[in-house]
């Protein structure tokens, strides 16, 4: 078995959005839509300010509400790595998954189906990193198998403090932010 996760080092990330544009070209994401995005969180009062920059996308949850609510089975968990995917041909564009996703990671493609991050499974199956990970100029993004204790992502999680997004939603997200 494998369980794909992403580990993102917020200390290195500068929020340049290379991940966003790389996803768009790699996956032909139509103009006006995006599968990943940058969030900036500011705390404190100037000049004792704190800033956390995060690159965000579908969390490929282990307990995915988008899959549970899908009436047609279009949203599903892929056999490889537990990646959450959408089969466009099965999708009726009902938007139940858009409403169910606590991360707001989905949108309706102009062709009528729900679309989102695929962890670039077409690349991963060819031994490549997802496009966002492979382009990142700060090397803040890591992709790999959490079930392999020797993988880079497993070792990072063992070594550094980290947090997922909205763990309280109970979806068991699989993107972790190193802080």
């Amino acid at each position: 078995m494998s369980r794909y996760i992403m580990v993102i080092d917020t200390k290195r990330c500068v929020g340049c959005m290379d991940c966003v544009v790389a996803c768009k070209t790699e996956n032909h994401v139509p103009e006006g839509f995006t599968r990943d995005w940058i969030t900036e969180t500011v705390h404190g009062r100037f000049p004792t300010t704190n800033l956390e920059i995060r690159t965000e996308r579908c969390n490929h949850c282990a307990n995915p509400p988008c899959v549970h609510c899908c009436p047609t089975g279009a949203s599903h968990v892929h056999a490889r790595g537990g990646v959450v995917l959408v089969t466009p041909e099965k999708c009726i564009g009902c938007k139940a998954c858009l409403a169910a996703c606590p991360y707001d990671a989905r949108f309706v493609h102009p062709k009528g189906y729900a679309d989102k991050c695929t962890f670039c499974i077409h690349r991963v199956e060819n031994g490549l990193d997802p496009a966002c990970v492979s382009v990142c100029p700060t090397r803040c993004m890591h992709f790999g198998d959490a079930d392999d204790p020797q993988s880079g992502v497993s070792r990072l999680l063992a070594a550094r403090p980290h947090h997922p997004l909205l763990p309280e939603a109970g979806t068991q997200p699989r993107i972790y932010y190193l802080t």
Binding site: V14, G15, V21, K24, T34, T39, F46, T49, E52, R139
Partner: protein, 731 residues
């Protein structure tokens, strides 16, 4: 980007449909010369180098089923290490930009009305050649000037030199990095260079003064910055704005704008009086240290406190932090440093601080770059110009070692020391790059000929008599790039796809123009590849190999003094000049001296501007991929000041400067990330060119508001952070 904007932040416009159709017709792939790697069937990969900024990162473009698909970093490239920045990744949007120039244009109405007639290349080049001959006959060839930015201008420079003019300049000196190169030359006898010779990857303590790496996206610099952060290097950031870099810093110093020199002097005071400097290094390489040290006596941290707003304890703590890590402490010289008009002296203070820490020539400081020896093409000698360059008459700015754009502009307005009657402008938008656009327009109105060669219809193109549409970098060959870097290498730019319309590459334009001017002998080669292959072969390298790989690596040379890099200083004393006799002789301060910045009108904010990682200057706002990441700029305003003014985030305002100039409307970003006495905006927005349909009117232009500038007496740079604005709500 919030959730709402993510789902539908732009409606798909009719223009996009046109663009897609156009790309479908035009993106026929050129013969692939690289081996496909890791791709799927039907994908061909072609190595080239990027041109969305001037960094020239090696890239590999992928063409799938004849369509330009994506572009990624070339793993062989020492600059990008296989990873482009967002501009590079989004660079393919330049090819499919529906707003790009399509055919040569000749003006039919008044200048600035942006009304032209489409003509053939023959007609356009004939028109230019006739007028250039008239200018040469009436005023001499020196009356033509060239403004050029980036490697693409090489061939136009060649044609203009063959024509007989010495007058060519780029805004990269007097509007950007000039002061720092002058300050470092005066001290170490050498420039910082581009790419900068900063050893960020190996530094233990990085000091950034106004330099916002991460937002300023020079790829190698940002990659090495992330490496330094990842290694746990101590980061000290000095900036009126809490930049992204500040968020990574151990020490953030929220300095009062315009007072950086006071901080630098106080730091040096601490390091000298506490004897924290590298005494062996200073004794071995330094000249005039005793006089320098004596001049620092009064610059105590207590003196600097009211000037800078940085408390004495922090000044002492950061000075000691730098000293603790020396010589692997790098006080970064910055890049866009034309701020206040005393910029060469401030840059010299940065050089002197590095000298105290012994970082020049040391690992983690400044390394010694080298390049491969690629001989120039053996052209006939250029004609001797009867008159010398006119941008800096009587060497008024004695330490300007490159030409001054604003000097050429002044001469064009006054006709002195001799008239300038023609401008050729290549890939630089002077109306956004130079301060005081009214002066630029006044100069343009003195011209008999203004030619703009560009990919997009810039504001400057709007004033041109002739506009020549250039192929994007994805569609053309350019000159070779024998880069001067820590790892010497040679890079090749080659076309990936055809130009979609009647655009032509720069080399073709320059060659045809030379032929029409009767200067065909200066282009003995028929085709650019003949030129490229000649140079590569003369360097003892294989042109087919370069075409296939995109990059050929050279022999690495010693980087640091202790590796055998020569500890030589091309200064009058042959040493690092703590005290500068040449400055003293020319009537300037031999050691930098602080002058407080002038305050603005009551209730106004100092206008600061900078970069965003997904845009280059004013050249990328119509690129749909990049504008999709940031489609307009905002004016950053401290929360407290915003509350006082009754403004909140996303309110539209206009900025009015001290001379009454009113900006385009711009959104407020009320934030805890900036001091309350200044505002900040990203440069390059607020386009007024009607041809830039997608970018037109989005955000505001800082350039429009920079009506005042303070000229650096040493080198003629234009300090532009001397303008003040008030905010007027847009109802």
């Amino acid at each position: 980007m919030n959730a709402l904007s993510r789902r539908r932040f732009l409606k798909i416009s009719a223009a996009t449909v046109v663009a897609a159709g156009m790309a479908g017709r035009s993106s026929r792939a050129l013969a692939a010369s690289a081996t496909p790697s890791g791709g799927t069937a039907g994908v061909r990969t072609i190595p080239t180098f990027c041109d969305i900024c001037f960094w020239k990162c090696g890239a590999i473009a992928s063409v799938r089923d004849g369509q330009l698909w994506k572009i990624e970093g070339n793993p062989l490239d020492p600059l990008c290490q296989g990873r482009l920045c967002p501009r590079g990744t989004g660079g393919i949007g330049a090819h499919s930009d529906p707003d790009r120039l399509r055919a040569p244009l000749i003006r039919t109405h008044e200048r600035g009305e942006e009304k032209w007639q489409e003509v053939t290349w023959d007609e356009a080049l004939d028109y230019i050649a006739v007028r250039m001959k008239q200018i040469a006959a009436a005023h001499g060839p020196e009356a033509m000037a060239l403004f050029s930015h980036g490697i693409g201008g090489t061939f136009l420079k060649h044609t203009l030199k063959a024509y007989g003019t010495p007058n060519m300049a780029a805004p990269s000196f007097a509007q950007c990095r000039g002061p720092r190169d002058v300050g470092f030359r005066l001290t170490f006898g050498d420039d910082v260079g581009s790419p900068e010779r900063t050893d960020i990857a190996n530094t233990d303590c990085l000091v950034l003064i106004g330099s916002h790496l991460g937002e300023n996206m020079h790829n190698t610099q940002v990659q090495e910055f992330a490496t330094a952060v990842g290694r746990g290097a101590s980061i000290i950031v000095v900036d009126p704005r809490f930049s992204v870099a500040a968020s990574k810093a151990k020490f953030y110093l929220p300095i009062k704008p315009g007072t950086d020199l006071a901080l630098l002097l106080a730091w040096m005071h601490v390091i000298v009086t506490e004897k924290l400097y590298d005494a062996d290094y200073v004794a071995k390489h330094g000249f005039g240290f005793e006089q320098f040290a004596a001049s620092l006596t009064s610059y105590t941290p207590e003196w600097a406190f009211p000037e800078t707003g940085i408390d004495p304890d922090t000044i002492r703590a950061t000075a000691r932090e730098m000293a603790r890590h020396h010589p692997a402490t790098l006080v970064h010289p910055g890049r866009h440093v034309n701020w206040n008009g005393d910029d060469a002296q401030r840059s010299r203070a940065i050089a002197l601080l590095n000298a105290l820490l012994g970082s020049w020539g040391r690992k983690g400081g400044f390394y010694q770059p080298s390049s491969m020896d690629v001989p120039a093409y053996p052209y006939p000698p250029y004609p001797k110009s009867g008159r010398s360059k006119l941008d800096n008459p009587d060497h008024k700015h004695p330490f300007a070692h490159e030409a001054l754009t604003t000097g050429i502009r002044d001469a064009t307005i006054t006709g002195k020391p001799y008239p300038i009657k023609g401008w050729m402008v290549y890939a630089t938008n002077l109306l956004h790059a130079l301060p005081n656009e009214a002066e630029t327009i006044r100069a343009i109105q003195q011209l008999d000929l203004l030619v703009v060669v560009d990919v997009i219809p810039s504001e400057t193109a709007g004033w041109a008599d002739v506009v020549l549409p250039e192929s994007t970098y994805l569609e053309r060959f350019d000159d070779l790039n024998p880069e001067y870097f820590r790892q010497p290498f040679l890079g090749l730019r080659q076309p990936v796809v055809d130009s979609p319309h009647d655009q032509k590459p720069n080399w073709w334009i320059a060659k045809k123009l030379a032929e029409k001017l009767g200067l065909g002998a200066y282009y003995p080669w028929q085709d650019i590849e003949e030129y490229l292959a000649h140079r590569v072969t003369a360097a003892g390298l294989s042109y087919p190999e370069l075409k296939q790989k995109g990059i050929i690596l050279g022999q690495r040379q010693p980087l640091y003094f202790d590796e055998g890099a020569p500890a030589e200083f091309d200064t009058p004393s042959g040493q690092i000049e703590f005290y500068s006799l040449q400055l003293e002789k020319a009537g300037f301060d031999p050691v930098p001296r602080y002058t407080p910045p002038a305050a603005g009108p009551a209730g106004s904010f100092r206008l600061l501007f900078g970069r965003a990682p997904m845009h280059s200057f004013s050249r990328t706002q119509s690129n749909r991929l990049l504008s999709g990441l940031m489609s307009e700029n905002t004016v950053w305003l401290n929360h407290t000041a915003a509350t006082r003014l009754g403004l909140k985030t996303d309110d539209y305002v206009r900025l009015r400067n001290q001379d009454g100039v009113l900006s385009n409307r711009i959104k407020v970003k009320a934030t805890e990330r900036i001091r309350p006495d200044c505002v900040y905006m990203v440069h390059g927005f607020g386009h007024t060119s009607r041809g830039l349909r997608h970018a037109y009117g989005k955000g505001a232009s800082d350039a429009q508001l920079v009506t005042r500038y303070q000229t650096d007496p040493l080198m003629g740079g234009t300090g532009m952070n001397v303008n003040f604005v008030t905010l007027e709500p847009e109802v």
